[in-house]
Amino acid sequence: MGQRTPLFAEHQRLGARIVPFGGWDMPLHYGSQLEEHHAVRQHSGMFDVSHMRILDLAGSEAQAFLRHLLANDVAKLKTPGKALYSCMLRDDGGVLDDLIVYYRGPDRYRIVVNAATAEKDLAWMRTQLSAFSAELQPRSDLAMIAVQGPEARANTLPLLDPALREAAGALKPFFAAESGDWFVGRTGYTGEDGFEVMLPADQAPAFWQALHEAGVRPCGLGARDTLRLEAGMNLYGQDMDETVSPLESGLNWTVAWEPEDRPFIGRAALEAQRKAGGLRRFVGLLLLDRGVLRSHQKVFQGEQEMGEITSGGFSPSLQRSIALARVDARIGETCEVEVRGKLLRARVVKPPFVRQGKACISLD
């Protein structure tokens, strides 16, 4: 049996199919993954993401520590509440994890890391932290609920404390507001508008129930995966891990090369990779034939093996199969994918596939 979030009893009550995920017992779906997916694209859905680890960082050298630790540069964060997506790299440039860091004010940050990597991340961070004057505090007293979809904000705001409601309603994308132990970020992992709400664990069940009564549909990890795949967002452990570079995972945009004199962990390795060239490209694929693309299927161009799919599946919004793949940079506009012993035709596209309820690619 895995660990349980403060919302586990709610999932059981709603008839969720529970599966093990990163050491946790989490809902896969509550009946239909497809309907949950559509609810988020068209209305609103909510996900229990309390398994993700929230870490608060404070201290006079908190910024200096994060500028050393992360490939993206927290010096970009100047307004309290602003969030930044970044990779945390090993010395050799492999990706230890991807995370979100929120700037809360001078010397104060909040970091959210993946569940499956949380212990490893924390050990790595603490080792690196020894040279800096700052404290890292895991917040296992908090739960987290992601409310996503075009109606998500309107459904969530009336349920917030008046002190937080106004600030949350005024948030721009990728900003957060807080009041007491409640923290609301206009962030997410679906390609839709919405909030991620961190709150005291003991208040989470009532808030979840209130959202449900307001018409927000409970959604499981299954829909979370198809939504993020359509949105072209990477999943750690599948699209990238310790053995690959962010430069081969479509994450170049998250590496802050400027200023040149910021020696973050992994920088030297990434610079050497960039100089050596021959890096693989991270692309999207749209299947033209009938079938379903899955991770680890091989990508070909003629006789030449070009790489493999890292995440694949059926896109409920497009009603077609889509994938993310790491391939030889010389790949053309179309390719073939080996699906269950057959070569099927696919078109190479630039993710995302779907954002804000709309297709971002041509299906012809």
């Binding site: 199919r17 239909s32 993954q33 299954g222 009938r290 079938g291 379903v292 599946g313 059926f314 409920p316």
Partner: protein, 131 residues
């Protein structure tokens, strides 16, 4: 709890077999199988006219989660396949024992039917897998 109709026969691979009484059987996947797979998004039906040995992989059902082979429960020839599944794979989720049928097989030897599990034996198999 998944349904296991009494009048059908079953396989270890969670398929059901209906004896049509004319030397043919209709084949599909059980309620338990569709529930375990989750929402189906793609079905590859077998070719009509294809001769199959018992245990031959002859169709594919793919859900949001994974792909799964469908095996021929007995030896025979495919005489009909459910074309409607190509456009509406969700029929298997909605009605696994009815509209969600996958193919019809003309048996090589109708006596082979006795090799399959009856409802009671299949329910026992499900109970053992649960444990």
């Amino acid at each position: 709890m998944s349904t296991v109709p009494n009048e059908l026969r079953y396989t270890q691979d969670h398929e059901w077999v209906r004896d049509n009484g004319d030397g043919t059987v209709t084949v599909g996947i059980t309620d338990h199988a569709q529930e375990a797979l989750g929402d189906l998004v793609f079905v590859e039906i077998p070719e009509v006219g294809r001769s199959l040995a018992a245990g031959d992989a002859c169709a594919v059902v793919e859900s949001v989660k994974a792909a799964s082979d469908v095996y021929s429960p007995l030896a025979g020839e495919v005489v009909e396949a459910n074309e409607a599944l190509s456009e509406a794979p969700e029929r298997i989720n909605e009605d696994p024992y009815g509209e969600g049928w996958i193919f019809r097989l003309a048996l090589k030897d109708p006596a082979d039917l006795d090799q399959l599990l009856n409802a009671e034996a299949y329910e026992q198999l499900l109970a053992e897998e649960e444990a």
